[in-house]
Symmetry: C2
Subunit: 331 residues, 2 copies
Amino acid sequence: MNTLAIDMMGSDLGSKMSVEAVLRFHKEHPEFHLLCFGKAEELNALSGQEGIEVIVTTEVMEMTDGALEALRKKDSSMVKAIEAVRERRASGVVSAGGTGAFLSASSLLLKKAPGVLRPALVASFPNFKTGGHMAILDVGASNENTAEEIAQFAIMGSLYAEIVENVVNPKVSLLANGSEEGKGSPNGKKAYEILKTKKEVNFLGNIEASNVLNGDSDVIVTDGYSGNVLLKATEGAAKTVGKLLKKVFLKNLRSKIAYLFVKGGMRDFKASFDSRKTGGALLLGTNGVVVKAHGNSDSEAFYNALLLAARLVEGEVVTKISKRLQDANNA
Amino acid sequence: MNTLAIDMMGSDLGSKMSVEAVLRFHKEHPEFHLLCFGKAEELNALSGQEGIEVIVTTEVMEMTDGALEALRKKDSSMVKAIEAVRERRASGVVSAGGTGAFLSASSLLLKKAPGVLRPALVASFPNFKTGGHMAILDVGASNENTAEEIAQFAIMGSLYAEIVENVVNPKVSLLANGSEEGKGSPNGKKAYEILKTKKEVNFLGNIEASNVLNGDSDVIVTDGYSGNVLLKATEGAAKTVGKLLKKVFLKNLRSKIAYLFVKGGMRDFKASFDSRKTGGALLLGTNGVVVKAHGNSDSEAFYNALLLAARLVEGEVVTKISKRLQDANNA
């Protein structure tokens, strides 16, 4: 039976939403065993349920906690949940707690899967050309990466697309400042040279940041620093546009009536940028599945994060990454 | 009398728009002497005008031309216009021709202004918090930069904001993957250390890509690779959102009527992202003012590019950059 370790605490919205999400997930996926870490008094609703085990912890990681606190708060729900994966009592961990603490604690405690040079943080973006989603990595686990690491991200990202998005032979592009060969950061250029020789990767070549949302790619690889800029610039622009649009519609009575006429469409429009649907970011390349739900996750977002973790566990992503990296090295 | 050298050819829309723009600029700013480079038969409308000199050239740089062609096409309107600046017959050059050729020819022919380590390409972004514009540099003149170069960009960008945006004591931020000190790319972190000691720079600290459009900054500095990703990701997201919105409004009769109700607001909304208003990008740090109008500039966009060049020439940006860099070094 597959087991997930869940940090029930530390989200912005409190444990009520994580309890709701766990109950829903448990009902729909009884095949998973769930280890739920958190304060006893907040997890009453979970006790007595078959297949759910409540493990009481005393400390809570704060949103602002970083690597240091991650090491110190040994009895926090977050650290205990990660430890369950390290000790092989669970195959994946989900948390909506602070990114800094969660990523550093996961990296430190779980270590890299065999063959992985560096784990990568993966973000899922809507692709408006294909109507699906694409994976972008690394978006910030590191802030610099060697060419070899970026090339490995292509293999890791392809597995993600296969398992989570059901894509066959995922198309991989490399972020660059121009679409022609020869463009890119110094390490990006070297990664291009490696990628074009890898038969494990369906490599399309370079992609400019302006074409990411409308391109053909299922996977986009880049170093963690540029990936972070790409992710946040896109989020920032979408958010700003949203605010501006709100102003347009709130201008006067006519515009407010207009809003009623396009309300449905605007809802779909907003939903396409909605991070709650994608279940958050995940760390690929560690010894165990690590899913980071957004800090302001509501119950649906947290449920989707659980689903994402479940999918990756069932898809045996960790074993497959090590295996495919090994095949690529021996090729 | 100040003189501008103008490449009349090589834009996507032909020389009709550049002729129109030059005539308008000449009428409104007769204090500028204009050297207009291009094919004789296309520039008839300019002949006989006092203060406008037509210099006939036989070659035209293509949009796809790069550094190599820039060196070979010696009788192109673009190269001849740049040479006029090199030979001190003009203080600035404007072109809507291909970016690759224009930037490399300008860098090669004009060389760096005294004290400048690397020229930077500057993009002007709307700032939705301040209602003004901000300068982002480098957005792609280089694809890697040292910490010292990034720190110089802060001084160059501040002068741009003072001269073009009339900002007093411009606020400068450094792009990073987190707003706290200690975040950033390896060279970005070193640039932070330099910037916080420079009294010539009103340094706010790090800024995340998600806050660029809504931040307090007048100037944002970064290496050319990340700056390019920031610029293009923002453009790409804004464009994608525009397309999606169009779909929302075209959905049915009701939504089409709704569009009529918010048409004015939507026009303002689009205009805030309109690159035609800002006059294009420019290269800072070369021996002479270099303004690159968008390749698909219409007459208004090209006129604004001429205005931007005029402003920078009148503001003596080249001399001031060298002077302030020298002061900063001697401090």
